[in-house]
Assembly symmetry: C2
């Protein structure tokens, strides 16, 4: 399963098998069950997660006491609360498994040592954060520009595999709908 | 003025004067007047901007034909449309000077060459994108969690120098208010 990570790294930098074995030694591999929590609100988010297979999500409890999902991570994506991770402050988020998942886990100090020992990983993480930042800029535009219905249409059109894969109540939580309202929209689209 | 950039780089990596002179040769320095456009919607955003002094903003024209500001960049911040810059696709944004500003400008190919010639700049840009991504995660939470009034209160409390510095109609454009509505809220806060 760790070969998923090697293959992913190879998209950005050249890593031979010996290097990869050393790089992998900085990580732990864990398996989590669907709905298992990896991070709870108020904790310091001490680790960064890379999804080998499965799906994780990040959410917070909003003012109305409702779970607001802000991010999903499927295969080959990283997820953490970056502010909490970097500044070692309590997180406002939860991170939870959406599916049974296999995850690479690294803590901040191991990640720093990894970057020191393998400077080419600076290039890799530069690409990763650059891509994540670009995606968040577009997401921000959608949040300002789209109605919730338009955002749902956009998801269905551009990421149909995602809409199929993730339970509908979590799609609703991502869009800021109630599950009932999402159901209504879906019925409207069908008719 | 370029020493602002050297000082900024030194926060992340060690750069001596000779290296800095070489690094600087990858950039152009330009001066822009208040309200001057650097990027227009529909163009390919070919350059990345670093603010030496002054202030830039990024905005798009929303469905209602109104300017929606999504980002400001003051001294020591980078700004571009990262998707357009990286994928060489037409941008949906405008980038405009909020104040008379002095800017370092680099195009994508020069930035790639810079990273190749000075691998330590990978580390620098890794920090920059990591920081920008973390900031955008928090911003996303605010967009979901705060009412517009709460977002304004948060800005006033946590970034008073910013609220003082930027014209009120642009603060309104950032928050998604009409200038009249912002004026109303400000009067309420005063009374």
């Amino acid at each position: 399963m760790s070969q998923v990570f090697h293959h992913h790294l190879e998209k950005f930098i050249k890593i031979d098998e010996i290097e990869f074995t050393s790089i992998l030694s900085f990580f732990k591999t864990i398996k989590v069950k669907k709905k298992e929590d990896l991070v709870l609100e108020g904790q310091i988010c001490k680790t960064n997660f890379f999804v080998l297979n499965g799906c994780l999500r990040k959410y917070f409890i909003n003012n109305k006491g409702i779970e607001q999902t802000t991010e999903f991570a499927i295969e080959n994506w990283w997820i953490t609360d970056n502010i909490s991770y970097e500044q070692e402050t309590p997180t406002a988020f939860y991170i939870q498994a959406v599916e049974n998942s296999e995850i690479l886990v690294i803590d901040k100090y191991s990640q720093e040592k990894l970057l020191k020992d393998f400077p080419k990983m600076e290039r890799y993480f530069r690409f990763i954060y650059q891509r994540a930042y670009a995606a968040s800029q577009i997401r921000m535009k959608y949040l300002y520009d789209f109605t919730k219905e338009e955002f749902y249409d956009h998801l269905c059109k551009n990421h149909p595999e995602f809409v199929q894969r993730v339970p509908q109540y979590l799609i609703a939580s991502f869009l800021g709908f109630t599950p009932e309202y999402l159901s209504e929209i879906r019925n409207k689209k069908r008719s």
